[in-house]
Symmetry: C2
Subunit: 166 residues, 2 copies
DNA sequence: TACATTTAGTCCATCAATGAACTATTAGCT
DNA sequence: AGCTAATAGTTCATTGATGGACTAAATGTA
């Protein structure tokens, strides 16, 4: 599995092998978790980002939100959010309408079908999430949570330092 | 940052909130690390997967490998590997030739320019990797390494269980 | 030796995501 | 009020990655 990383890491004597391997492990975990989710969602003709968006809308107050909010919570660019919403609207899971107060804004509202669909989807993911953390103690999960947050914090700082605010 | 996750997690009472948040944190860390790498590589007109491939070839015995091997080590599909190699060959970082022993095989060889370019690229990444793990003790890094490997192992099992061998 | 099977890699069509440019609307100044 | 800035979304062109079909070569099997 990690033969490749190890070899590359070894061939860069100036850099901490441990760190290089960790970076790669992080990227791999992310990809693998994501792929697994995509695989589970495919039969329902949703990809991960569409599902994530729907889930956030599902859990929004009154099942209502603006695209901009969803971009923020779902970490998506507006361009892609437009596409995501297009497909959700297409499938009658969500409606799109103009806000009366601010006519630039689009109001998204999850439909009853959208709610039903989501509620039906979520339990399916349970065993998957469970299997992902098989053998993890509560303590280990908490460790992982802490370390990942710390890491994301570091990366956010780097990003902020170089000017990119988004 | 994680307001969105938290809210979604809360709205799924049947599922462990901790686990849902962890899954999301994992995906985020992966994406953020990847984005940062892409950002650093962009000025050099390489993306992360092209760089990864080049780095693996750089560290291969004699700087030589088959596309199939690279697919394995770089976790890429053959289709994309063809494209990656196309661009590396285009930039004279790598040469492509047929194997004499098995004429189905393509032999990839890193060029002197490729070596020079790689050696020049690597130090640039050092401060980035360093900053990523700022404030991490050796012990914490080891913890993270262990937990990620455990997690990837779990996911590999799931993948194997459902038949997908690749 | 002839023929089916497997393996290696490539080509093509498609999907997902992005940056840049654009439209419409509102907020901020003077 | 009038005019500039900023904000919200969308459209379009492009990039990156994928599955599926295909070509070529090697392997095994009768």
């Amino acid at each position: 599995m990690q033969t490749g990383i190890q070899r590359v890491a070894e061939s860069i004597p100036a850099m901490s092998q441990t760190d290089v391997v960790l970076v790669r492990l992080l990227m791999m975990s992310g990809v693998v978790v994501n792929d697994e989710l995509e695989y589970l969602l495919r039969p329902h003709r949703l990809n991960e980002s569409e599902f994530r968006t729907l889930a956030i809308l599902f859990s929004s107050p009154d099942g209502r939100a603006y695209p901009g909010e969803l971009c923020q919570y779902a970490t998506q660019k507006p361009t892609n959010m437009t596409r995501i919403i297009d497909t959700l609207v297409e499938r009658d899971l969500v409606t799109r309408s103009r806000s009366a107060q601010d006519r630039r804004r689009v109001v998204l509202q999850i439909t009853p079908q959208g709610r039903r669909f989501t509620r039906q989807l979520l339990p399916m993911l349970f065993p998957y999430v469970d299997a992902t953390f098989k053998g993890f103690s509560a303590d280990e999960k908490q460790q992982l949570d802490r370390l990942l947050r710390k890491l994301i914090h570091n990366l956010d700082s780097m990003l902020a330092a170089r000017g990119g605010v988004a």
